[in-house]
């Protein structure tokens, strides 16, 4: 059965994934919009950086984050100067790391959805007295709805499944940074296979539900209101 610390890990994981997803939707939307519309020469460099977590091994990303957010890293110096303190071994640090790590899974579906909204509709909205923000709110958002759903599901699921980055910057502190994937790893390492099975089974179940939701979202007639 699930132990108390297992349940703590599950709650923490859901809290981390929820916070990360919410932040990513807020940050990722303007970024994805910019990527979808800009003709700046910075477009490709920025897109590459966003996509980097797709190819970097998570432990590598985690290690660099540990360096960057540490007392001698630029981010660490900044957070200390701001009075926030150091981010590693804290929930906030995990959120920052997860935001970076899951970024492409949110930004890319949003970017695709935004690119599918044709420029001609934005022009039409402008000739109908809609400001750019108004147009975004009332034309782009409704047309990109399924993109938002995909982005949110992928971002959430990917954060739940993340292990390497959390392992590197988390420090495995109960109820603070010990998430499900780390807990499962601990069980396996300690040869507590029973506990590992229970937790892993709940994760598999969760993944099935998420993927099922994702695939039914992709059903034909992509456009619905």
């Amino acid at each position: 059965m699930l132990s108390e610390s297992d349940i703590g890990a599950i709650v923490l994981t859901l809290k981390l994934a929820g916070t990360t997803t919410a932040l990513l939707l807020v940050l990722g939307t303007p970024l994805a919009w910019w990527l979808a519309r800009t003709q700046s020469r910075w477009k490709n460099p920025v897109a590459v950086v966003v996509a980097l977590p797709l190819v970097l091994p998570p432990t590598v990303l985690g290690f660099y984050l540990l360096l960057l957010m540490g007392p001698n890293g630029p981010v660490g110096k900044l957070t200390q100067a701001l009075g926030i303190g150091l981010l590693p071994f804290s929930f906030t640090g995990l959120v920052v790391a997860s935001v970076l790590y899951s970024m492409p899974f949110v930004v890319q579906p949003l970017q695709n959805a935004f690119e599918a909204v044709h420029e001609s509709l934005l022009e039409a909205a402008a000739t109908l007295r809609a400001s750019p923000l108004d147009t975004f709110r009332h034309v782009v958002l409704p047309l990109a709805r399924s993109g938002f759903a995909t982005a949110a599901i992928l971002g959430f699921a990917h954060t739940v499944g993340e292990f390497g980055v959390v392992l590197m910057v988390g420090g495995n502190i109960p109820n603070e940074t010990r998430v499900m994937s780390v807990q499962i790893y601990d069980h396996v390492e300690a040869l507590r296979y029973d506990n590992a099975h229970w937790l892993a089974a709940s994760m598999v179940l969760f993944s099935l539900v998420v993927l099922w939701a994702l695939y039914s979202k992709r059903a034909p007639g992509a456009f619905r209101v």
Binding site: S120, L121, E123, A124, A125, A126, T127, L128, R129, A130, S131, P132, D134, H138, V139, P142, L143, F223, V225
Partner: protein, 358 residues
């Protein structure tokens, strides 16, 4: 010209094309920007709307829309725009599309009511439908109604019929003509189709290679000796007429023109209403005497203004003064010599075919 509506001094350069115009357009009436594809008329219209940014100055009446330092974005200009494709919002039904612009105009600035626009463009039965279920012509009618519902001070239309099949075009043209008589706002209408230009234009701007070649009253330009319109295959004159009376027995109608009366196909316009006829140069022949023994019933006295060479060496274009309006006649050079035609001569124009344009 202090009573100009739109005053544009704009320049825009691309790789192989440059736009350079200095244009003043009237405060009211239907202005057609006419020219062949690629002459820059759509680009000019987009610059007027602020959808594209050119260098220079642009004024609407007393308001500055653009100069070196200022640029009023499209959504703050009191205009609306009908695109070549309808560009309806796919996530809204027809009613939602119509309300989109309508809702964004403050109540006290609305001069066109929802019911009015719906009725003018005949879209009552479509309100609950989705754009994808409409025909091309229906969509464009919705788009026009949607544009009108922002109660614009000026309406810009970019080849609104170009993407439609012939049936849909014929479906929409009457609505456009209705707008011309109902609306007191200026319309700037881009087209490369001579028949649309002839039917709709009051004021005509002729564009060539990104420049304004000429502008003025429609018939002045159509019949201008130095302009290429005179030598088009379908060179024609467009003159205003007043419906005089109908002849149900022969199913004909009689309309008054400056120099007399014309017989046209039966129509349902009430007597006294104003309309226009387009008279193609190739449909006008010239006689020295009024002909009574001909199947051509339209024969009007007029005076030869001048005779000029045409693109075909066998033919000439004769400009005729019909009670103050100019009409064109395309006849052979041989006929000119045989009849001894010369400027100032009084002749009779036999008009083979003529139709009211609405």
């Amino acid at each position: 010209m202090s009573d100009a509506g739109l005053h544009a001094q704009l320049a825009l350069a691309f790789d192989k094309f440059s736009l350079q115009v200095d244009l003043q357009l009237p405060r009211s009436g239907f202005t057609v920007l006419f020219g062949r594809s690629g002459c820059g008329k759509t680009t000019l219209l987009r610059c007027l709307a602020g959808l594209q940014r050119a260098q220079g100055t642009l004024r609407w009446k007393d308001t500055l829309w653009q100069d070196e330092r200022h640029f009023v974005p499209t959504h703050l200009r009191p205009l609306s725009y009908v695109f070549q494709e309808p560009r309806l919002f796919p996530h809204l039904d027809v009613k939602g599309n119509l309300e989109f612009g309508f809702r964004r105009v403050p109540g006290n600035e609305r001069r066109i009511r929802m019911e009015e626009a719906i009725q003018w463009l005949g879209v009552e039965s479509l309100l609950q439908q989705r754009p994808e279920s409409l025909s091309g012509g229906q969509r464009q009618r919705v788009a026009i109604a949607r544009a009108l519902l922002t109660s614009p001070q000026i309406l810009l239309m970019d080849e609104p019929l170009a993407s439609l099949d012939l049936d849909s075009k014929l479906d929409i043209l009457p609505y456009l003509e209705k707008l011309r008589s109902h609306l007191d706002i200026p319309v700037i209408y881009v087209t490369h189709a001579p028949d649309e230009m002839a039917r709709l234009a009051e004021h005509l701007v002729l564009m060539e290679n990104g420049r304004v070649r000429a502008q003025g009253q429609l018939n002045d330009l159509l019949t201008h000796i130095d302009l290429p319109l005179l030598h088009q295959l379908d060179a024609s004159a467009v003159i205003n007429v007043t419906v005089d009376h109908h002849d149900p027995h022969y199913h004909l109608s009689h309309v008054a023109v400056p120099g007399g009366f014309l017989t046209v196909a039966y129509n349902e316009l009430p007597a006294g209403s104003r309309s226009r006829v387009r008279i193609l140069a190739r449909d006008v022949s010239i006689a020295l005497e009024p002909t009574h023994h001909s199947s051509i019933s339209n024969c009007l006295p007029c005076c030869i203004i001048d005779i000029s060479e045409d693109r075909d060496p066998a033919r000439v274009i004769v400009r005729l003064n019909l009670g103050g309006e100019v009409i064109l006649s395309r006849i052979t050079r041989r006929s000119v010599d045989m009849l001894g035609l010369h400027p100032g001569q009084l002749v009779y124009a036999q008009i083979k075919a003529v139709a009211l344009m609405n």
